[in-house]
């Protein structure tokens, strides 16, 4: 009886797998055609120029100060942004995870609402807030706190501030997901064994929330490395990030090989960041599949 039922379900499963593969095929084709092939072409372009192999595009990283200075500035900004999002995002996620369901949903909605707004719109919003005649400066001025307007935007400060705002959800969401899974009993057990709230937090809660924090940090760091619109609009032309170097090489200098090599190096940097992080927590946790 059981056998006669199992074998049709087996063949059913096989046909289902075939169907799944068939259904997946277009997606795989799209990924292949739109991701794998262009990436390969990109890498190829950086080493093949005028009918021969060349390393000139990579040599520039050693000889041209603009290249490594841009990478340095980009990594510095990514570092600052990551640190700031941890400091700002952790308390928010902590509060959201500790609140009753309905309230935590409201907190999360407040985090997500700006997340759904276009990056462009938010960049301009910051411009309006922070510029010389902006709301912040006029408020400070009318309060008598400053005489001449502060330079809050069109520099690295404004860029970093807006980037933090844009990327904060990428820190809060993985943190919240991890914190939600920490059993309250462990915290209670810690208290009942005589730990002060701070002690319990540092010894029990914080270590258990670390995977979410690392996942968030990796996401924020990697996303900052590729930021383009925000520094372009809020950087005042001085805040020069790697993506701008790529676009400049194509639009102004027409150096496709150079642009490709920068992209390849940036991509390698991103892989290295992921690799480093995966030593600490499994990769699947970073991208949130588990």
């Amino acid at each position: 009886m059981t056998i006669s039922i199992a074998s049709p379900s087996d063949s059913h499963e096989r046909s289902e797998q075939r169907l799944m593969l068939l259904l997946l095929a277009p997606a795989l084709l799209v990924v292949g055609a739109l991701l794998i092939v262009p990436l390969g072409w990109l890498a190829w372009q950086s080493i093949w120029q005028d009918g021969g192999f060349t390393i000139v595009n990579y040599q520039r990283f050693l000889t041209d100060s603009v290249y490594w200075m841009t990478f340095l500035q980009t990594f510095r900004i990514a570092f600052v942004v990551t640190l700031a999002t941890v400091l700002l995002g952790y308390p928010v996620a902590y509060v959201a995870a500790g609140l009753p369901q309905r309230w935590s949903m409201i907190v999360l909605a407040l985090v997500l609402l700006p997340f759904w707004t276009s990056v462009l719109v938010r960049a301009y919003a910051w411009l309006i807030l922070l510029q010389r005649t902006g709301i912040v400066n006029s408020a400070l001025k009318s309060a008598g706190l400053i005489d001449s307007p502060l330079l809050l935007v069109n520099n690295e400060f404004g860029t970093v501030l807006a980037t933090i705002h844009i990327l904060l959800p990428f820190m809060v969401l993985p943190l919240y997901a991890t914190m939600k899974k920490i059993p309250q009993e462990l915290v209670m057990a810690g208290s009942s064994l005589g730990g002060s709230p701070l002690h319990v937090f540092l010894r029990v809660f914080l270590p258990l929330s670390l995977p979410g924090m690392i996942a968030g940090m990796v996401l924020v760091f990697v996303l900052t490395l590729g930021f383009y619109i925000t520094p372009e609009l809020l950087g005042g032309g001085r805040t020069y990030m790697v993506s701008m170097l790529v676009s400049r090489n194509i639009q102004v200098y027409n150096e496709w090989g150079a642009a490709s090599s920068i992209s390849v190096v940036l991509m390698i940097c991103v892989f290295l960041v992921f690799k480093l992080a995966s030593l600490l927590i499994p990769f699947e946790r970073i991208i949130g599949t588990r």
Binding site: D64, S65, V66, M69, T70, Q73, L127, I128, Q131, R132, T133, L151, N154, E232, L233, G236, G237, R238, Y240, L245, R248, I250, Q251, V252, Y253, N254, W256
Partner: protein, 346 residues
């Protein structure tokens, strides 16, 4: 904008058929999009389509250069005629991406000054990089020259320049006392040295025309180098800004034809028709950019008042420096462009 373009194509082809061209000729024309392309559709493209009985398909690219490069690399370009900064036409021509123009087939360009033409291009539309300022800030004594722009003591205030060496290096040299007729070839070292002086006082190095307009409109900067059309657009909104054509940098976009263009013959006919003085004279009616063909000022279509606002009118052109696209597309010009990135970063 898309439906508008398709109606245009449709109406143009209807005209084509009604005039009796069984297989209506067509070209694909590319410009920079936005209000500018809309204006030239009415000023130039519609009249030309009617005149020749051809269909003009439009495309737009804010920066056509990378696309020209990719299209011609395949040997089968889709575009025919491009309206683009002259530099693209010249360097494109040198790199075998742009067709050499046969001026015997473009009689309308015959009377144009030699410096408005190159073997690959013909001046189509003029704009100017001018010194713009906030009227409220400076009252009766606004900055009038690049020397004034550099004079932070006499003219205190925030400043902006374009994040690009073209016209910026020229401004630095004029501020440093180089006579306008001795600018080219540019003394690049001297220009960068002079720019270093003003660098601490530059609030923003703008990258797009829209950004330069926004800086003026929001009063983020008190003076800046900006394109004349952008400044007048801001002024029309009632914001107290003005500019001077004095020591402005006259620039033009040109028409050029892609190498191996699918409709080469029609493209040449199009270029000639687009340069017709009478059609060129339509530009000022729709936008604050001047006709590329100076003959347009003689048609009587442009009022003297309007001509005074046009960067390319003979009177205004005389006050300005014509930017040398030839120099900028030379090796020295390309090197200066590359040096710009490190100048900005340091």
């Amino acid at each position: 904008m898309l439906p508008k373009f398709s109606t245009l194509v449709l109406s143009a082809s209807v005209i084509g058929f009604s005039v009796g061209f069984a297989s209506a000729e067509q070209i694909t024309f590319v410009s920079q999009g936005g209000a500018y392309q809309e204006a030239q559709t009415k000023a130039i493209l519609d009249p030309v389509a009617a005149l020749l009985g051809i269909t003009i398909n439009q495309d737009s690219a804010p920066d056509a250069w990378p696309v020209i490069k990719t299209q011609t690399a395949t040997g089968k370009p889709v575009w025919d005629v491009v309206d683009t900064p002259t530099q693209d036409c010249i360097r494109g021509g040198q790199q075998d991406m742009i067709e050499k123009l046969d001026f015997s087939k473009i009689p309308n360009a015959q009377k144009m000054p030699a410096q408005y033409k190159s073997p690959y291009s013909v001046a189509y539309e003029f704009y100017s990089s001018v010194l713009a300022y906030n009227k409220d800030k400076f009252g009766d004594n606004p900055p009038k020259s690049w020397a004034d722009f550099w004079d932070v003591k006499k003219f205190p205030g925030t400043r902006a320049l374009r994040n690009h060496p073209l016209a910026t290096l020229e401004a630095a040299l004029l501020a440093d006392g180089v006579p306008a007729d001795k600018l080219y070839p540019l003394d690049v070292d001297r220009a960068f040295k002079k720019l270093q002086e003003i660098k601490p006082y530059i609030t923003v190095w703008w990258t797009s025309g829209a950004q330069s307009a926004q800086l003026l409109a929001d009063r983020e900067v008190d003076m800046e180098m900006a394109w004349n059309g952008r400044v007048t657009a801001v002024a029309k909104e009632g914001i107290p800004v003005s500019y001077t054509f004095n020591q402005g940098f006259l620039q033009y976009t040109s028409l050029c034809i892609l190498k191996g263009a699918p409709n080469l013959d029609t493209a040449v006919k199009f270029v000639n028709a687009a340069m017709t003085p009478d059609i060129q004279a339509n530009f000022p009616a729709y936008i604050d950019y001047g006709p590329g063909n100076p003959e347009a000022y003689k048609t009587g279509k442009i009022t003297p008042e309007r001509a005074a606002e046009m960067p390319s009118s003979p009177e205004n052109a005389a006050k300005q420096v014509l930017v040398s696209d030839e120099w900028w597309s030379s090796k020295a010009g390309e090197d200066a462009q590359k040096r710009w990135a490190s100048f900005i970063q340091q």
